[in-house]
Amino acid sequence: MQNFLIIYDIFDKKRLPKIKKIAYSYALGGQKSALEAPLDKSLMTSLIKELEDILEDEDKVNIVKVANKTILLGKAKQVAFEKNGVIIL
């Protein structure tokens, strides 16, 4: 399990909430259209599949691997997760 950022830019207003809903169902936190999600291979595969079913050519979704130690400024908090999806507080 590794932390990723899901960043999306959706052209059509009708598709946007659908993509948003999918992205949020994989995310532990983040803001607006940049979400932090811990993903392993199978989660990544199912996320991509779900997105591809809706996305059109003009849309854009970036799934970016995040380094273990990211720079957090302002009120940002590191999203908590362990390698198997466990959240510890």
Binding site: Y24, S25, Y26, L28, K77, G85, I87, L89
Partner: protein, 294 residues
């Protein structure tokens, strides 16, 4: 088994869009099969319903880890497994013998990993083969346990224990952590059994139909040595200190101490996952075999 742990006092959890929300954090349902909460979290009954409907079990732990409550979906499933379980009670000696034989072997191996090489279980294994009563099997297990714990406590730093196993209540930090992790893992086994359709209350070695989940206790026997090894590691590395325990009516791990070892417990559950899956598949096979013989 995906576990989400929200061990924070006085928080309110809400459910929106198939995810749990609290403060600025979101945990989608897909990240949990079991949600562990402490007893000072607030969750609305309608949200409890939503979680259990999604097959997410909720385990609530009291402040000092001395009591647990498990909430699962009331849906009955796989009636055939429960029936097979019931029918196989006739052959409970065979299954009970399996649990204790494996327990003895794994405990001996665990001592060996820690340099204790002089424990011989040949005699006990022979006795087990000939045992025809559950009481006799429990007797063999009891006498081995005394021997085992004597050696086990010798490996541990002296300041954390009184040299013997104590429970209800535990009398020292080592026993406190052992009992706490046994209870947590017992509940995890219960959730796993429920998810496969087993009746956790119907056990073979432990007396069936008592208030506890006898089958979960049976399976726990196979994992105790691994839990003990993880406990050993916590105290060898001084992850917990004497200040992390309270002495009120027995020795218990404090809330603050509990937070220090969540990651160790999670790692342990993760390591044991393949074995737990195997043992449950094996149990199903053994139950079916005894049914075919009937």
């Amino acid at each position: 088994m995906k576990i989400a742990i929200i061990d924070k006092k006085d928080i309110t959890l809400q459910i929106q869009n198939n995810a749990i929300k609290f403060e600025e954090q979101t945990i989608p349902f897909r990240f949990m099969d079991i949600l562990i909460l402490n007893h000072r979290a607030t969750l609305h009954t309608k949200d409890i319903l939503k979680l259990t409907k999604e097959n997410i079990s909720i385990l609530i732990i009291s402040y000092n880890n001395d009591s647990f409550s498990l909430t699962s979906s009331a849906n009955t499933k796989n009636g055939d497994i429960k029936l097979a379980q019931y029918n196989s009670l006739d052959k409970k000696i065979e299954l009970a013998r399996y649990f204790i034989t494996q327990k003895l072997i794994s405990h001996k191996e665990q001592l060996e990993v820690n340099g204790v090489k002089n424990v011989d279980i040949t005699f006990q294994l022979e006795q087990l083969k000939n045992a025809t009563q559950i009481d006799a099997i429990m007797g063999i297990e009891g006498s081995f346990a005394r021997l085992y714990f004597q050696e086990f406590f010798n490996i541990l730093p002296r300041e954390y224990h009184k040299g013997k196993r104590s429970k209800k209540p535990p009398q020292d930090p080592v026993n406190a952590l052992m009992s706490y992790w046994y209870s947590l893992y017992y509940n995890i086994i219960t959730v796993k059994l429920l998810s496969y359709g087993f009746e956790p209350a119907m056990g073979y070695l432990h007396t069936p139909f008592r208030s506890h989940n006898a089958l979960s206790s049976d399976i726990l026997e196979l994992f105790r040595s691994a839990i003990n090894q993880a406990v050993l590691s916590v105290f060898k590395h001084n992850t917990l200190t004497l200040e992390d325990f309270t002495k009120k009516g027995g020795v218990y791990l404090k809330y603050e101490g509990r937070k220090k070892v969540w990651s160790e417990f999670v790692e342990l559950v993760d390591t044991l996952k393949p074995k737990l899956d195997n043992e449950i598949a094996n149990l199903k096979k053994m139950i079916n075999e005894t049914n075919n013989c009937n």
